[in-house]
């Protein structure tokens, strides 16, 4: 029982990170119908920025994470601006553009930070708290809390603000929204900025759990992408649930067949997708294609 609960706690920690990555994929997809393949590398850039500000420049972790989020959001805006001419031509071109942008980000990271990577110390005293035999660390609670706040903020933005509602409208019917006075380009740019900002949060949080290097995006990004699909691509609640479930599948797969846990995780994922092809929450909000 303790083993079960301990694995559950471990799975939720990484699951929250996957959920954040999945939300970044989904916000861009639901707004534009675009899969942003650079997203995994944006996570990596966010992680490097936060790690540099925190480890090298000795800023407090909260300041480092905030600055990293802002800088990464600017990178997101830049990416959308550079790729915008492609959007009006063909969305598939833009998709390939994001792949190129991702490769560029990885190369830039190697040029700036080298291929060695940075080991990030845990920012808050990582005290193990014993809850009836199950160990929860303070940093795990911190990760869950930050992830929860980000999810809540995103929900409030999309549901309660004018810009958020306009973005949903642009996602549902681009021409109708334009006719109603919604600026679709702004809507797309905001989606990219928000997606990148959330990616930076995920990257900053995962740094102390793992190790920040230029291939971090591959490790976290693929799983975040799978989590988004599992939850229902484009759905924000789906991204959250998908992320948490994916973290749990991974944690439990690591027990019985630890040497082949990655394989087992993706086999379970593939089986789940066969049973329910649209993911848990389906594609309710977006139907652009």
């Amino acid at each position: 029982m303790i083993y079960f609960l301990q694995t559950l706690v471990g799975g939720l920690g990484m699951g929250a990170v996957y959920a954040l990555v999945a939300m970044g994929f989904s916000i861009v997809y639901r707004t534009m119908g675009l899969v942003n393949f650079a997203h995994a590398d944006v996570v990596m850039i966010g992680a490097f920025l936060a790690a540099t500000l925190f480890v090298t420049m000795h800023l407090p972790f909260v300041v480092a994470i905030t600055l990293a989020v802002l800088l990464t959001a600017v990178i997101g805006l830049g990416m959308e601006r550079i790729l915008r001419p492609l959007e009006s031509k063909d969305l598939n071109l833009m998709l390939i553009g994001t792949i190129g942008f991702g490769i560029m980000l990885q190369s830039v990271a190697i040029v700036i930070w080298g291929s060695f990577g940075i080991a990030v110390p845990t920012p808050i005293p990582n005290v193990p708290i014993d809850v009836g035999g199950v160990i929860v660390t303070t940093y795990q609670l911190f990760v869950l809390a930050v992830a929860g706040i980000v999810m809540l903020l995103l929900y409030l933005f999309l549901d309660r603000t004018k810009l958020g509602t306009a973005m949903q409208a642009a996602a549902m019917d681009r021409s109708a929204a334009t006719a109603m006075g919604v600026n679709v380009s702004t809507s797309n740019a905001v989606a990219f900025a928000i997606g990148s900002a959330i990616a930076a949060v995920a990257g900053a949080l995962v740094g102390p759990l793992l190790y920040v290097n230029p291939t971090l995006g591959v490790y976290v990004g693929i799983k975040g992408f799978a989590a988004a699909i599992l939850g229902g691509f484009g759905s924000i609640p789906g991204a959250i649930v998908g992320g948490l479930i994916f973290g749990l599948i991974e944690a439990f797969a690591a027990g019985p067949l630890s040497a082949y846990s990655e394989l087992l995780t993706f086999v379970v994922f593939a089986l789940a997708m066969m049973v329910r092809q649209t993911g848990i929450f389906g594609e309710r909000t977006v139907d652009r294609a």
């Binding site: 990484m14 998709l95 190697i110 014993d130 793992l210 490790y219 690591a254 990655e262 294609a289």
Partner: protein, 388 residues
């Protein structure tokens, strides 16, 4: 809906293709300098030595340390007039930690008429290159230390330190006889290096009649160990043996402590590296027991001189991997000086005829390719190795 899914699929395929293509091009990115005017050149042809190592990815540290050690040995030899008047032309290729790229690079080195290959820094990749280099009669010296390297029945493979068998014999004896602890849990990965560590350490425990409290195997790419560490915690061990590379070892130690495991960490060379200490954190690494043939730069006059030269050349602190690569390359340079014929069969004969007093100790290569036959024990104190 259908279109959307198709689009995702298409995107994924493209992403995979692009990633693959990129891997290919950057892997063979280094361009060989065209051999200087082969015709009426007044100076004799240089001796081509190819180094294949990981310069990108998670094991880039290992590749760079190996390169630094080899480069220092070659630069010193060239500055002293080269090998019988011929300069050594050292070139490096990046295997990216991928066996397929490493074998491709080995083929390329052969076609470029290399005299020997230094590499790879990972055992798995070195193993992959052995059949190709042995068939071409090209001597290969590797920084890998998996016992499997010496079981290939090839006279052309040499290892520049010693195998996990020797490391783990020393380590197991220290834990059982000096620390007098026999409540030992094991965690190791199933890559070639981790498997070698696992098998050798377990063999020593079995010999002493000790059964580990837990024996967990993980995949080399995994970074979250909550599940296996929870099981290990349940067995309440006094010692946790870690058989994995630097970063993964550091993450295991860090996560073990945060789950409340208080066992002393023990392991081979990766446990003593700065990468391990940084990844785990100085506090977590404190008191860890490691074994290595090269404990510190202050061991003797030879290691001090090496560390000073290394610092001057690369502006970074020398460590074990650089030292063993320096020894390995120095032995080959001495062998090249000894034989006028640099063909593979003659060169390996010369290497085996040498007794070399290096930074790591005395080297005398046997028929399977093992040169060094002992290691030392160290304990981490405030992030530094203290000899025992």
């Amino acid at each position: 809906m259908q279109m959307a899914r198709l689009r995702i699929l298409a995107g994924l395929t493209i992403a995979a293709l692009v990633a693959f293509a990129c891997g290919g091009t950057t892997g063979t990115g280094a361009i060989a300098s065209p051999s200087a005017a082969a015709t009426a050149s007044p100076t004799p042809d240089p001796i081509r030595v190819t180094l294949i190592g990981s310069f990108t990815g998670q094991n880039a540290d290992l590749g760079n340390w190996m390169w630094n050690g080899v480069k220092l040995a070659v630069d010193e030899a060239n500055a002293a007039g080269g090998v019988n008047g011929r300069k050594i032309d050292l070139i490096k290729y990046d295997d990216q930690g991928q066996p397929t790229i490493a074998t491709d690079l080995a083929q390329r080195a052969i076609s470029e008429k290399t005299v020997m290959v230094y590499g790879a820094n990972l055992s798995t990749l070195s193993l992959a290159m052995i059949p190709i280099l042995t068939a071409a009669k090209i001597p290969q010296i590797t920084s890998g230390q998996a016992p499997a390297l010496l079981q290939q029945n090839s006279p052309y493979i040499f290892i520049d330190s010693t195998t996990s068998v020797v490391f783990d014999q020393t380590l197991a004896k220290y834990v059982l006889n000096t620390m007098k602890l026999n409540s030992i849990a094991m965690i190791s990965n199933n890559g070639t290096y981790g498997k070698g560590e696992h098998d050798s350490f377990l063999a020593e425990l079995t010999k002493a009649g000790v059964t580990p409290t837990a024996d967990k195997v993980i995949a080399p790419d995994v970074k979250d160990f909550t599940a296996v560490l929870t099981e290990i915690r349940g067995t309440n061990p006094k010692v946790l043996f870690i058989g994995a590379e630097e970063v993964q070892s550091g993450l295991i130690a860090k996560q073990a402590r945060s789950l409340g495991i208080s066992a002393t960490f023990v392991g081979a060379a990766p446990i003593g590296t700065p990468t391990f200490v940084q990844t785990a954190g100085v506090d977590v690494a404190e008191g860890s027991v490691m074994t290595s043939p090269y404990l510190s730069n202050d061991t003797n006059a030879k290691t001090k001189a090496f560390a000073a030269a290394y610092q001057k050349a690369f502006n970074s602190e020398a460590e074990f991997h650089g030292a063993k690569a320096y020894d390995g390359m120095s032995i080959f340079i001495q062998a090249m000086k000894k034989t006028s014929d640099l063909s593979g069969p003659k060169l390996i004969e010369a290497v085996r005829s040498i007794t070399y007093e290096g930074l790591l100790g005395q080297f005398k290569y046997d028929e399977v390719g093992l040169g060094l036959h002992a290691t030392q024990i160290g304990i981490l104190k405030a992030g530094k190795i203290v000899a025992q």
